[in-house]
């Protein structure tokens, strides 16, 4: 694969500060008070990306499973922390179940993509696995956060119906199944919608990157297609897992709703 990409020199990188100045002007002009955050954000983005750049160079060079797997798990952990931070209605922190759902869905789908579809040499190539798993995690993270948030809002909004169904003899699953379905659906919908418009509204970041890096568009499109259906599959599995895992915790051993659900 000889990609004829155009490198960015140090001088050119320095010139990109013009863009930061433009952003700063908007903030100053509208008195948004964002200058400090903008400055801090720019510095952080630069430092984080630089460190990641060196780290990836090192990891790709070593390319051993005992480095790749802990890194993938760390990525899954960071993603699950972010997902559970966004769900404020949960009676207890969903960190652990988020981690389990994200890890399971990401590994199942990621391994199918890497081992069966892309098949790099050697099979466990960090250069392939880390970006692929990263893309899956980023999207699944959004999906499970949406699904969990929806699940708890539905339950809060329908607590009397759930209680009535239980009183009429419903099993816990029968009492909440409509809301569980709505939750999984809400987690999956953005991904499915993005399948409809991809390429029409905007070119996805990954494809843009590959084209800029010199890959011919035909090939970039193939990659992008695989990536999109892979994301859809991972989001679906992740949302299903997180909803099933949280469902258990909604009920007491006496099959009544846990009290914390009545509080908020």
């Amino acid at each position: 694969m000889d990609y004829s990409y155009i490198p960015i020199s140090n001088l050119q990188l320095l010139l990109s500060i013009i863009l930061v100045l433009l952003t700063g002007l908007v903030s100053a002009f509208m008195q948004l008070g964002l200058l400090k955050s903008l400055l801090w954000g720019t510095i952080r983005a630069f430092l984080q990306l630089t460190i990641i750049g060196y780290a990836l160079t090192f990891i790709f060079a070593v390319n051993k499973l005992y480095i790749i797997i802990p890194i993938l798990l760390l990525m899954a952990f960071v993603a699950s922390r972010e997902a559970s931070r966004r769900v404020d209605k949960a009676p207890e922190s969903p960190l652990l179940i988020s981690f389990l759902s994200l890890t399971a869905s990401t590994f199942v789908v990621g391994l199918i993509v890497v081992m069966l579809i892309i098949t790099p040499e050697p099979l466990y190539s960090a250069r392939v696995m880390i970006p692929i798993f990263g893309m899956i995690l980023g999207n699944s993270m959004n999906g499970i956060a949406l699904a969990l948030d929806r699940m708890y809002s539905e339950i809060h909004a329908h607590i009397e119906e759930i209680e009535e169904l239980l009183a009429l003899g419903a099993s816990p699953w029968e009492a909440v199944q409509d809301y569980m379905k709505a939750a999984v659906k809400s987690g999956m919908t953005p991904t499915i919608n993005s399948l409809m418009v991809v390429g029409l509204v905007s070119l996805p970041g990954m494809m843009t990157g590959q084209i800029l890096a010199g890959m011919d568009p035909q090939n970039a499109v193939r990659y992008q297609f695989v990536v999109m259906i892979m994301i859809a599959a991972a989001v679906a599995i992740g949302c299903l897992l997180i909803v099933l895992l949280s469902y258990r915790k909604l009920f007491t051993e006496d099959q009544a709703l846990i009290e914390a659900l009545y509080q908020k």
């Binding site: 209680e163 169904l165 239980l166 009183a167 009429l168 099993s171 029968e174 006496d254 709703l257």
Partner: protein, 221 residues
Amino acid sequence: MSRVLEFQDIRKSFDQGAHYLSASGYVDQGEVLLIRGPSGAGKSTLLKILARLIRPDQGMIYWEGQPYRAVDPALWRRKIHYVPQKAVMFEGTVLSNLQTPFRLSSMSDELRFDQEAALKYMELLGLHPDMLEQQAGTLSGGESARVALIRALLIQPQVLLLDEPTASLDDERRDLLLQVLVQWLKEDDKRAILMVSHNAEDIKSLPFYRVLEVSMHKGAE
């Protein structure tokens, strides 16, 4: 007379133990136990505890001598059945609402939805048969309350836990409802009713009852 439901030293605390509800009592076959007490006393909470919709902090409940832990919760809730203060109607018609419990997997096979019985109860409670096709969401408060009661009667509970069943009804409908309940008790001598009521008129229409006063205690616990 034998004891249908008995509860001993039920305790449930609120506001991290600042208040607590404590109650003991029983109801025998054919009896009505009236639950009374000021607003916020914990009457609804007590009924929900007896229906196993809320777990008490402590206390025991026995149904015909069996401790509640020994009975499947879904069966318990159908047999010792709670009808809430504010009737809950699901999406769909009144007919579909009456059929809801019969779509649940725990419903035993012998018990089928009986439209004749539904229509009979509707007539007794002053509801027009055409109402079966009406969207349940459009019912008035008093209509919903009666539909909810019919739904409860159709699943053939043994003990009805009624939370202010007459609150949204005028005098005439209230009398109809109480007559239906008294008749329901007589049809099978194993049955019993626990009923929350603030209404003195309710009591006049009941031929036999006992009263349990409930109050919220201030508590260091």
